[in-house]
Subunit: 244 residues, 2 copies
Amino acid sequence: MTQNLEVDRRVRLNRDRVLQAAVFLADETGIDSLSMRRLAQELQVVPMALYKHVSKKEELLDGMVETIIAEIDPSAGGSDWKSEVRQRVLSARRALQRHPWARQVIESRTTRTPAVLAYWDSFTGMFLAGGLSVDLTHHVMHAMGGRMWGFTQELFDDPAAAAGQSAVPSAAQAVMLQQMTDLYPNIAAIAASSAHDGASVVGQGCDDQFEFEFALDLLLDGFERLHRQGWSSKPGKPSGGRQD
Amino acid sequence: MTQNLEVDRRVRLNRDRVLQAAVFLADETGIDSLSMRRLAQELQVVPMALYKHVSKKEELLDGMVETIIAEIDPSAGGSDWKSEVRQRVLSARRALQRHPWARQVIESRTTRTPAVLAYWDSFTGMFLAGGLSVDLTHHVMHAMGGRMWGFTQELFDDPAAAAGQSAVPSAAQAVMLQQMTDLYPNIAAIAASSAHDGASVVGQGCDDQFEFEFALDLLLDGFERLHRQGWSSKPGKPSGGRQD
DNA sequence: ACCTGAACACCGTTCAAGT
DNA sequence: ACCTGAACACCGTTCAAGT
């Protein structure tokens, strides 16, 4: 019965093939050039054919987020909540780094799809299983914000843009550097201490992975401290525990 | 000489009038309906007239960010670095809350305009003036990420979307709530403990301002602790200070 | 110096029609 | 059930022309 539906036009569209192609196209050409029309072309299909599988472009983007979530490793289990959370966050970060468009798309989404809710729920569960109170876990989840997905605003990325254009001759570059130092002395101080190559104003010397883990651990340590102290959001009700 | 250039067509365009109108239009109708054409129409001018004052739409958005930055209170001075930073961040947060589109636009910008650099520089300066090492300040700036602008991912906003549609009859709502509890028990646990009204799954009970300050203070306290300990990113070089 | 008009190469999405 | 074609109401931006 099911023998020669192999080539109906191509392999026949379905939601998964659409999403996979969309992820691939976004990886290759950037999220800005991902249009319904361009995607249809890639799938050798007329634009409107896509609308049988995703009802709007928004739903396409929601679907793409789902595929990202699927790439995040589930908790291995067997260790303390802190390292379990840490592992999960770093895995999420790796998934997002494989797809440069993902952070922006996740941030732009307002709908809570089941996949997103399931991810949050499982994330929440790591703290609760670790013994943190529901109250503390609630605020912890807020505090994790984007870090739960493995991203922060990498404000100091793209150092070339900060230093001026990328391929300026070094004489002009020296002038720019001097101007930067005059105009932005504090940024310049950081640049001077962290840059090994001297050419970049901020960055180049920045190890994003280090910065990410710095902030992550600061928060995790903070959570742990509050947990040990029996912190509660209701004043005057610290549920026991020493004040170390 | 300069007497009757009052009404050339309207008041005559300039960059400031364009930016102001753009901010107003985005405030009123949302960032998605801010198009060059729509903005031109608002200013009673043909679309191309705008291009004398901003070279591309990107530059328009950069300009809009500048106007937001101008709304952030400069440091009052006279207090310790921690409360000064805190005040500045909360002021930034207020500015962003006046313009709901601002967070998204700031996040989408990749160019470092002078206004943005100046803001970062002044922000950096608060830590350095407080005596934090250049090294620590560097990583602190990374860790502040979006919080320096006064925003976090408010993941739990828009509770209606999480609970299903907004105006569901309460019988159907109860079914939904049960489903939520089955599917996402950990989120449900948080919702149950924080919701006073019982109807919302997550949120409604969430005080965004509280959550924001919770995470902010956790970080600030962490920074302070590292500062007191003489923390350094280079291992084995804690520059003095007790380990409390 | 500043604004206009027409045009180009795109968008997302609808609707009615084909197989 | 799935795909197509034509059409609608938009985009950002260029270029040559007007005042």
